[in-house]
């Protein structure tokens, strides 16, 4: 049987079915029909609204190595206090709220969705759940205990900067040097330079592996030149903060810059 004949037959069947269905419909009282239509419309609206909500990026993701002070910053942003301190997180802290520093401001202020993703390396896959909705990423670095952790932090940052969801959407990134209230803390310029150097080295070793690694599909910087953060497709800035003393104005600025009130 050639295809056109087959098609004709299908068409016949379809029109027959349609007629049967219409016949059936005529027997159904109109109130039931309206109710059914209302339900269909309602569910589609519900689904669509959910999808739209998902797509909108107003999330700020706090990330960084374990012990750099993400949870403290999260609670500083939310409540303006660290309460009785924190321990290593096992789950992300997540909340939609008006920043504590802005609660006294007049006028309507839009709430921000902030997620604090645990830094423990076993929990890093969680990050991928939040990155697609991120309007900005804050990479928290421990400025006090920086040098021993420099390599691990740089590796994590490298992974972050080469993530598809970050590169494609050009998500702005803030390198936040935490714990600067302590005297021995390193400056943000120093940390920036060290991390650039470290990432430069990583580039050579990672590009060798990246062919095998599916996660690192993008390379960083310009080949042949020493790496700087300005070469990234997304905007990378540095700032200082102190979670314990509540000195987080630069962080709040960053958040407000990227999540418009």
């Amino acid at each position: 049987m050639d295809p056109i004949e087959q098609f004709e037959e299908w068409k016949e069947q379809a029109s027959h079915l349609w007629r049967v269905a219409m016949d059936h419909l005529r027997h159904v009282p109109p109130t039931q029909l309206y109710a059914a239509a209302a339900i269909v419309v309602f569910t589609t609206v519900l689904l669509l609204s959910r999808l739209l909500k998902r797509a909108k990026a107003n999330t700020i993701v706090l990330t960084g190595l374990s012990g750099s002070g993400k949870s403290v910053l999260f609670y500083q942003l939310r409540d303006g206090s660290t309460h009785q301190g924190t321990v290593t997180s096992m789950e992300p802290n997540e909340g939609t709220f008006v920043l504590h520093g802005e609660t006294t401001k007049k006028g309507k202020i839009k709430a921000v969705h902030i997620v604090d993703v645990p830094g423990h390396s076993r929990l890093r896959p969680k990050l991928d759940e939040y990155l697609p909705q991120a309007a900005g990423v804050v990479f928290v670095v421990d400025a006090l205990d920086f040098l021993p952790n420099c390599r691990a932090a740089s590796e994590y940052l490298y992974d972050l900067l080469t993530k598809g969801s970050v590169v494609k959407k050009k998500v702005p990134l803030l390198i936040l040097c935490n714990k600067t209230d302590k005297v021995t803390a390193h400056t943000k310029e120093f940390i920036r330079r060290q991390m650039e150097k470290e990432i430069d080295k990583l580039r050579t070793s990672r590009s060798a592996i990246s062919e095998a690694d599916i996660t690192n599909e993008f390379t960083l910087g310009v080949p042949g030149e020493p790496f700087t953060f300005t070469q990234c497709s997304n905007k990378v800035t540095t700032a200082e903060a102190s979670g314990l003393t509540g000195e987080i104005s630069q962080l709040e600025e960053f958040i407000r810059e990227h999540v418009k009130p």
Partner: protein, 631 residues
């Protein structure tokens, strides 16, 4: 004496600490507990020991999964506090009643805690008295002291049950109305004060011992043993249902693993080449070609596997659904079940455990994993339109991904470059039992490194088995890399040392040290290995294990680690840093050894050997392993 009791959320915010205990802890036992125990799927264990110079603590914990709370108690290891578990359970019960996600300060819980502690102490005391099993224990110091100062406290403990005036301070407002169901909290005024002094005394445990001693006249009581007895008993009851027959549906789907097909290249037989002219004739005839599979992408047909998985789950679930009746299970799945209990989880977890075991995961590990998953699910609310089995399945999948995700960077090339800057060679020692393929995979690693422009040197430190040096020499000639050898009957530690010196001289970046295979129980050989590692302080100790191994994987790795630790002359011994899994092409879907090894050692799988040619070296694909394990 209890050192500290904390209540915190899974997000890491401390909600309440016991101020009155308020002892400054040495080190950071809580963070260490979370990082190395709770996050490593070891939360099914009963307790965790933490050592720092100057203190050694034991930590016990319990979860409230519905509210996402964690309760941790810290106490000195030397004291075996019997009441801690009881106390934690009570604190959990009480705190969950006052907990409110929006509240972050719970100062009024202090008073409740004080009472709970008194109650727990008293109950532990009762338990001890009623228990007839009393074993003599030597060296019960502090006995006299205990008898001396504790009379009043213990008497108070007995009085708890007698009706007394309800002591309840105004601050614990929520408790007034609950007084009825907590008869244990009815305390005498004087008693609660009196006993308080006793608890502040640093010597609760010895007190307790002293008392029992006095009443039975039989010798002191070993709390440890009692606990062990009890846990044994409970374990037995656990095992009984599990021993029932296996699920018949399990073997429904099994699929051949498809590995990257590589060009079968080169003959492995070079005997005729080297044959007549002896070692002098170097065969440049077949310089090895082809890219190491470390650098190739792996394509997994994930969709088909996914489908199968779902199918499987569906099949599995049917019998359990039938038992409960179609309607009620349907209703449950729509409405969502209130709270998951252990008994609800048991069938699903048993199925999971069996499935893991058919994939060659060691039984002990499958058991522990299931316990840990149960601990993380118990008390949780089941979401609507989900089934228990799928919830358990998802939790297990998450746990498996977490375990197999490397904790530390496995970027060896980066490390090689780092040590290159310091102008010293990067030393890798291959260890393992006999015949797992140490030399073969050493050559594969060498080949992979060569491809990334790293100069490699081999060190033949297998001075034990005849032919080992020649085998390595053949590899070296094929790969055209230098080899350091000193023949047989030499101390391997010394050979390795000289090899490293030689590498420093001629500027090699990496030294790959081949060692003799040894059984984990062979103490002289293990001692030699420990010496080799101690003397040369390698950058990476790579355990080579074959993927064929089942229950023995646990034994091998734990004994290797333990022996390396025990037999090392240094106080801070080097343990195994990474795993090289060999013969991965022979095991079809029984990939359980990967999980067993990673779980036991806590170190990542760095390479996977999956064939006979030099290119057959890959990275572990965590996702595909997890998928295969749960298939």
């Amino acid at each position: 004496m209890l050192e500290q009791l904390l209540i915190f959320t899974r997000g890491g915010l401390i909600l309440w600490t016991c101020n009155e205990l308020g002892n400054a802890l040495k080190g950071s036992p809580i963070d260490t507990l979370i990082r190395s125990c709770l996050l490593e799927e070891r939360s099914g264990a009963a307790s965790y020991n933490y050592d720092v110079p100057g203190a050694s603590y034991t930590l016990k914990w319990t979860f409230h999964n519905e509210l996402g709370l964690v309760f941790v108690a810290v106490y000195q290891r030397i004291l075996h506090l019997l009441y801690v578990e009881d106390l934690l359970a009570m604190v959990k019960r009480e705190f969950s009643q006052v907990y409110d996600p929006k509240r972050t300060v719970y100062n009024d819980f202090d008073e409740t805690f004080r009472q709970l502690k008194v109650e727990a102490l008293a109950r532990a005391e009762d338990l001890k008295k009623s228990n007839p099993v009393v074993r003599p224990v030597g060296g019960n110091n502090g006995k006299k002291q205990g008898q001396g100062n504790n009379k009043s406290g213990l008497e108070g403990g007995n009085k708890t049950k007698s009706e007394g005036g309800l002591k309840d301070d105004g601050s614990a407002d929520g408790n007034n109305n609950k007084g009825d169901d907590n008869k244990g909290r009815k305390l005498e005024n004087g008693y609660s004060n009196g006993n308080f002094v006793v608890t502040k005394d640093s010597n609760v445990d010895s007190n307790v011992n002293g008392r029992v001693n006095a009443s039975s006249g039989n010798g002191a009581f070993d709390v440890n043993k009692l606990q062990k007895l009890r846990s044994k008993g409970s374990k037995k009851t656990d095992i009984v249902p599990k021993a029932s027959k296996a699920d018949p549906n399990k073997k429904a789907t099994k699929k051949n693993r498809v590995w990257d097909d590589t060009p079968v290249e080169k003959k492995l037989d070079f005997t005729d080449n080297a044959g007549e002219d002896g070692d002098r004739k170097i065969d440049f005839v077949a310089p090895v070609q082809g890219e190491s599979m470390m650098d190739k992408e792996e394509i997994i047909s994930s969709e088909s596997e996914d489908e199968e998985e779902e199918d499987d789950v569906g099949k599995k679930n049917k019998p359990s659904a039938k038992n409960k009746g179609w309607f009620s299970s349907m209703f449950q799945s729509i409405a969502g079940k209130a709270n998951l209990e252990k008994s609800d989880l048991e069938p699903a977890l048993k199925a999971l455990k069996d499935r893991l075991m058919t994939k060659n995961v060691a039984e002990e590990i499958a058991e522990k994993l299931c316990e840990s998953v149960a601990a993380s699910l118990e008390g949780k609310k089941l979401a609507s339109f989900t089934r228990i089995s799928s919830t358990a399945h998802a939790a297990m999948e998450e746990a498996l991904v977490r375990i197999l995700t490397p904790k530390r960077s496995i970027d060896i090339l980066r490390d090689v470059h780092a040590s290159k800057e310091q102008r010293k060679p990067y030393v890798v020692v291959f260890v393992g039992v006999n015949g797992v393929g140490k030399s073969t995979n050493l050559a594969k690693v060498a080949y992979w490194l060569l491809q990334h422009n790293v100069s490699v040197m081999m060190a033949a430190c297998d001075t034990f088995r005849s032919g080992a040096v020649e085998q390595l020499r053949t590899h070296a000639r094929r790969l055209q890399i230098p080899i350091f050898e000193k023949g047989y009957e030499k101390d391997p530690a010394v050979v390795a040392k000289e090899a490293i010196q030689e590498a420093t001289r001629n500027g090699s970046d990496v030294v790959l040290v081949d060692t003799a295979g040894r059984m984990q129980d062979n103490e002289p050989l293990m001692r030699a290995l420990s010496k080799l590692i101690y003397l040369n302080n390698p950058d990476l100790v790579l355990f080579v294990g074959e993927a064929l191994v089942g229950n023995d994987a646990v034994d091998q790795l734990s004994k290797f680690n333990q022996k390396l630790g025990d037999l090392s002359p240094s106080s801070n011994p080097r343990l195994i840093d990474g795993i090289l899994l060999t013969k991965f092409d022979t095991i079809d879907d029984k990939v359980g050894a990967a999980l067993s090894m990673v779980y036991i050692s806590g170190s990542p799988v760095m390479f996977v050997g999956c064939g006979q040619s030099y290119t057959d070296l890959k990275k572990l694909n965590v996702k595909s392993i997890v998928k295969t394990l749960l298939k």
